[in-house]
């Protein structure tokens, strides 16, 4: 083993031990399955404390530069930690928009002052971040964003509305895409990118209740909100380019995230466990040939997905469509999860109609909640249909 591998193997053992000792006890209230469903103050406080603890132990932002609060190690180190968080089913690392999207973006494209100002607070969870991209009338058509930013002296004055703002009602900062020039030669050229404060007169949020019944998103309203001109990232007109780079991080096309552990691993393993518990004619469902066939099909697809990730590291095996593996990951994974979670309810029999809160709901309604929540993954960050368009156009070269 090389020095790095020895080092990583040792890290895995160390992290695993640390997690065994430090994963908090069940708080007695429902914990979020993903970062998109933090809907109560008690959940938030719990997750802030947990992220802080992980950071203080040195397990967050391990590949980020030391001078800004990171660990100065490699992404391989962080990957080990993220895998162990998953293996131990730890609570999620919630400040995802900072850790996963805004942080890497600022490290890549930000000024020295921006790095000094923002990076550490992302890691410590002192600063919660949210994202202002989608608008009520422009969901997947991001380039058409209409929220206006007008330069006025040392400020920009913002007017408009953003929607699906995860952490909108908790966040201190927002990565904001707004239109500075409505008369630009094309819709993209009129956009600019801001690292905007949220606690400002004229910015208000209104929580949105989701299909699960829980909260986690907000609509954000800008009503003559004044933000300092230095909040502009890059130059006016560069918003689209910076937003596209953000999406590279959001969709995990590019690495550099301080952690990628943002969902509880509700996986096929859990579906198999469920099939052991549920019985038909006295026998576990796992023995039913029809169910077995479907489970194996899901397992083949899940295996293909993990292998696709492995294969993307071997260029000689990615010659036909070099970008297909990176661009397809989100679509293939989230759609597989959607189908398998839907299936997990379908096999529950009469009890499949129960929901979170019912004593008799199988596994507390975990699958019902997981299935509904999964739509945030097949819709958020570009719907599956938009993803398919992107792959068709950019990988297969099909016309727009």
């Amino acid at each position: 083993m090389s020095e790095q591998n020895t080092d990583l193997a040792a890290l895995r053992v160390e992290v695993s031990q640390w997690l065994k000792e430090n994963i908090p006890a069940d708080p007695g209230f429902l914990l979020p399955q993903s970062f998109m469903e933090v809907g109560s103050d008690e959940q938030l406080q719990f997750l802030i404390a947990w992220q802080r603890k992980v950071y203080d132990a040195g397990y967050l932002g391990m590949a980020w530069p030391k001078e800004y609060g990171g660990g100065g190690l490699t992404q391989a180190h962080q990957n080990i930690v993220d895998e162990e968080l998953m293996n131990h089913r730890a609570p999620i690392i919630f400040n995802v928009i900072g850790l996963g999207w805004a942080g890497p973006l600022i490290l890549q494209m930000g000024t020295e002052a921006e790095k000094q100002k923002y990076i550490k607070g992302i890691l410590t969870a002192d600063d919660i971040w949210c994202q202002g991209f989608s608008e009520p009338d422009h969901g997947s058509d991001l380039g058409n964003a209409q929220t206006r930013a007008v330069k006025d002296g040392d400020d920009y004055v913002i007017n408009g509305s953003k929607i699906w703002t995860t952490f909108g009602n908790y966040a201190k900062y927002m990565i904001l895409l707004a239109r500075t020039n409505p008369d630009a030669p094309n819709k993209y050229a009129g956009l600019s990118f801001f690292l905007s404060p949220m606690i400002v007169d004229g910015i208000s949020t209104s929580p949105i209740q989701k299909i699960t019944g829980e909260y986690g998103f907000a609509q954000t309203f800008f009503d003559d909100a004044r933000i300092p001109a230095e909040c502009l990232m890059g130059n006016e007109g560069e918003g689209w380019k910076i937003a596209m780079q953000t999406l590279q991080y959001e969709r995990s096309v590019d690495g550099g995230q301080a952690s990628t552990y943002k969902f509880l691993p509700i996986a096929l393993q859990d579906l198999l466990d469920t099939c052991k518990e549920i019985r038909r004619e006295g026998k576990p469902l796992l023995e039913d040939p029809v169910v077995r066939d479907q489970l194996v099909q899901f397992m083949i697809e899940e295996k293909s997905l993990s292998l696709m990730q492995e294969r993307s590291d071997v260029p000689a095996l990615c010659t036909d469509y070099p970008f297909s593996l990176a661009l397809s990951g989100k679509l293939v994974a989230t759609e597989l999860f959607r189908r398998s979670r839907q299936y997990a309810i379908a096999i529950q029999g009469a009890k499949g109609s129960l929901y979170v809160g019912d004593q008799l709901a199988p596994e507390g309604g975990m699958w019902q909640r997981a299935y509904f929540n999964n739509f945030s993954a097949t819709i958020g960050g570009g719907t599956s249909q938009v993803q398919a368009n992107i792959i068709a156009e950019h990988v297969l070269g099909l016309p727009k």
């Binding site: 066939d293 194996v296 697809e301 993990s306 292998l307 294969r311 792959i391 990988v395 297969l396 099909l398």
Partner: protein
């Protein structure tokens, strides 16, 4: 009862050797098997061009996995995957798979004298083939084909690949309930014993072979016929899967090219999402299956060709995913070509036919899922 962690072995490697073979196989198949070449061979007797086969022999492919002491190159099975994929991509059909599987079977037996007798010949280009099926069931572990105490066979085999050009048949038969593998030289076969099938894939050749009354050359010495056949069928499934992945890639290219050039209602049809999105589904299914076959290759390299549980899982997953990818690709290729797609002239037919052929060699998807279930579900 415990479940297997399907991600415990995600090994994915590609050696310099594989890479060189891939390069040479891609170039060879492209040069030697244009669509025009493929079409010319559809109604030919053997389904391949002798000079092309000779070049494959000269390249060492027929002996690639045969031990050096028997005249082969002694390379690992992982090197077959890029060859099979390239052949599939250019729909190049030859007796390559038949001979490779027969030589694998011989090499995995205990029979040094039959190995000495046949492996050199196979490496040098003699065609050998397996006669396994009594009927449609790839899951059958017994056979109705019998061998008498004095070595005379009785019974027919179906779907014997490349029977007409084979110099050696390896026949699954039984004597008093005990499974045997008999070796039969083509010279022993009576006139009329080989009747060509009419196959759905016209690039392939297979026959019904009636072995009744034929005296075998030898009975193969092996510890377990069942185990040996299981191994060879898994390798056959993987080779077929690799070939299918290659075919899926060129089928997708054919479809995408059409979507990029054909106009209807004033627009390129590739701009319609109803066609675009399934094209992406084909791509993703192909990429999944391709990952599976190269993982299987890696696992086989890691075990030095030994078929253990990881290899079995990888081969079965490869076959199931490759079947499904090519079936979907071929089906959509015909549909998306519209009226042209329904014609024999349109190349989509070559792929939809190949898809139907491939899925039925060495087990369809449900066959493999059924056998994966106990391995993956722990019961």
């Amino acid at each position: 009862m415990s479940f297997i962690n399907i991600n415990s072995n995600n090994a994915m490697a590609f050696s310099d050797e594989q890479s060189m073979i891939q390069e040479s196989a891609r170039a060879f198949c492209q040069d030697q098997s244009s669509i025009e070449d493929v079409r010319k061979l559809l109604d030919s007797k053997t389904g391949f061009q002798a000079p092309v086969w000779q070049q494959m022999i000269d390249l060492g492919w027929t002996g690639i996995c045969i031990d050096e002491q028997h005249g082969g190159l002694g390379l690992g099975l992982e090197n077959l995957i890029p060859i099979a994929e390239s052949m599939g991509r250019h729909l190049l059909s030859t007796p390559f798979f038949s001979s490779t599987l027969a030589s694998q079977l011989l090499q995995r037996s205990n029979d040094a004298s039959q190995q000495a007798l046949w492996l050199n010949k196979i490496a040098a280009g003699s065609v050998a083939t397996l006669a396994l099926l009594d009927d449609e069931d790839w899951g059958a572990s017994s056979t109705r084909c019998t061998i008498s105490p004095d070595g005379v066979l009785s019974g027919k085999k179906v779907l014997v690949h490349d029977a007409e050009v084979a110099e050696l048949f390896i026949v699954h038969c039984q004597q008093d309930g005990s499974e045997q593998l008999a070796l039969v030289s083509a010279t022993k076969m009576p006139e009329g014993a080989i009747q060509l099938h009419s196959l759905i894939d016209e690039t392939k050749r297979a026959a019904v072979v009636d072995f009744s009354g034929v005296k075998v050359d030898a009975v193969l010495d092996c510890s377990s016929v069942d185990a040996l056949l299981s191994e060879v069928k898994l390798i056959g499934a993987l080779l077929t899967a690799s070939e299918a992945v290659g075919a899926t890639a060129s089928c997708l290219n054919l479809t995408v090219e059409y979507l990029k050039t054909r106009k209807q209602f004033g627009k390129l049809i590739g701009s319609y999402q109803a066609l675009k999105h399934p094209a992406v589904d084909i791509l993703n299914m192909m990429e999944g299956a391709r990952s599976q076959i190269y993982h299987a290759a890696t696992v086989l390299a890691d075990t030095n060709g030994k078929v253990d549980q990881d290899v079995e899982i990888a081969c079965r997953m490869s076959k199931a995913s490759a079947n499904d990818a090519l079936l979907f690709a071929g089906d959509r290729a015909v549909q998306f070509h519209g009226g042209m797609g329904f014609t024999y002239e349109c190349d989509a037919q070559l792929y939809i036919r190949r898809a139907q052929w491939s899925q039925q060699q060495f087990g369809d998807s449900a066959h493999h899922r059924k056998r994966l279930a106990p391995l993956l579900l722990g019961c």
